[in-house]
Amino acid sequence: MAKVYGTITQLGVSGSITQKGVRGSIVQKGVGGNIVESGVSGSGSDYDADADLLTYIEGLETELSAGQLALLNTFIVNLKAGLSIDNLSDAFDVIYILANETPEAALRNLVKRLHDATAVNSPTFTALEGFTGNGSSSYIDTNYNAKTQGINYTKDNCSLGVYCRTNTNAGADIGAQEVYPGNGIFVAARLSGKIYGRINERGTNNAMSTIADSLGMTITTRNGSAYNNKVNYRNKTSPAMSYSGTAITDRVPDFNMYILGNNKSGTPGVLTTRQTSLAFAGKYITTGMRDVIVDCFEAYMNGKGVIT
């Protein structure tokens, strides 16, 4: 059931009916079977339950509330419209809405039924805010290896994004790194006073942007193989950058990406204590796409966002 508009009337139904993400009136008469309703929010405006939402919530052990489903649906619909894509998988490989109602939903990949993440060593989950690392042992394994499983994320056309609700000056937010100084994927929203961005290049290569805090959306994206074909974004701005290292891209590191830290060849490192609400990986992000992503997610945060 991909689209539900207004009133649904079911007469003389025998068998199983499953309704998810429905907003509107439902009238059932003479129903003789099992009816499962989740996310039904009674009378209201017409509700277009997006196909990506329905795929995402299929099989959840703990169902999400109607309000949460509506927020997720709005996020998906507006993101697709803003980016002019039909499916989230047209631009992204993974999106984790960590600011979610349940840990289960937070660790699910919104893009497709692959690469659901794993919470390792109990990072702290706070409903509708995100996961917080402890800076010494807890992290999230995305179970996504961009080298072997990347579709939109490719060596010279790719992006990484994180949304942080708290301000600290240490640790990485997402990464996968070969034995140093091998090739790395690395984004830190704030580390020693700077955004650090490295994508599919030697460990000595970084795009660095001096920054006052770690709050909001940080994106590092690449379009081309040169060291300066990558850019850091903070919210809806493009802060000034300096570069360390001038090597061109070499290869995508062959490790799962970790969130709340960096996967250092299979060992967690550069762990952070920041609270992270969103993480994604996908294709190159233009400034126009950046603004859409920032606006859609800030709206999704529904008052718990931190962009001023």
Partner: protein, 127 residues
């Protein structure tokens, strides 16, 4: 934050996936022991590991992990996290900054980037 201390054998025995979306991955300490955050004992998704974690607590006890920036003296045998050390331009070179103190010593923070120990400044901290 309190740590559950595990031997290498206990760490290998408990490492792996639990529940639908959780896992345990004990982290090696500078002295060859391993640790998990005590929060794991309250994580419902890790209930299948409670027995093994409690066995480790009974056998090895727990230890506090303190931020080095928040203490005025370091004590022998205690674990600290060196949150003061800034990352270099190549931040992936940094570790998880877990340290263990080998001797008691006063500590003075001269700058944000250097920790100075009043007495016996050499090899006071093992990473």
């Amino acid at each position: 934050m309190n740590l559950i201390i595990l031997t290498k054998e206990q760490a290998e025995n408990i490492r792996g996936r639990y529940g639908r979306y959780s896992a345990l991955d004990p982290i090696e300490l500078p002295d060859g022991m391993f640790m998990l955050p005590e929060d794991c004992l309250r994580d419902k998704d890790l209930k299948d590991a409670y027995e093994k974690m409690n066995e480790a607590v009974t056998a090895n006890g727990t230890k506090e992990l303190t931020e080095l920036s928040k203490v005025k003296e370091v004590k022998a045998g205690e674990y600290y996290i060196d949150d003061i050390t800034p990352a270099p331009e190549e931040p992936v070179e940094t570790t998880n900054n877990l340290v263990k103190c080998l001797k008691d010593a006063d500590k003075i923070d001269i700058t944000d980037s250097n920790i100075f120990l009043k007495s016996s400044p050499q090899i006071m901290i093992k990473r």
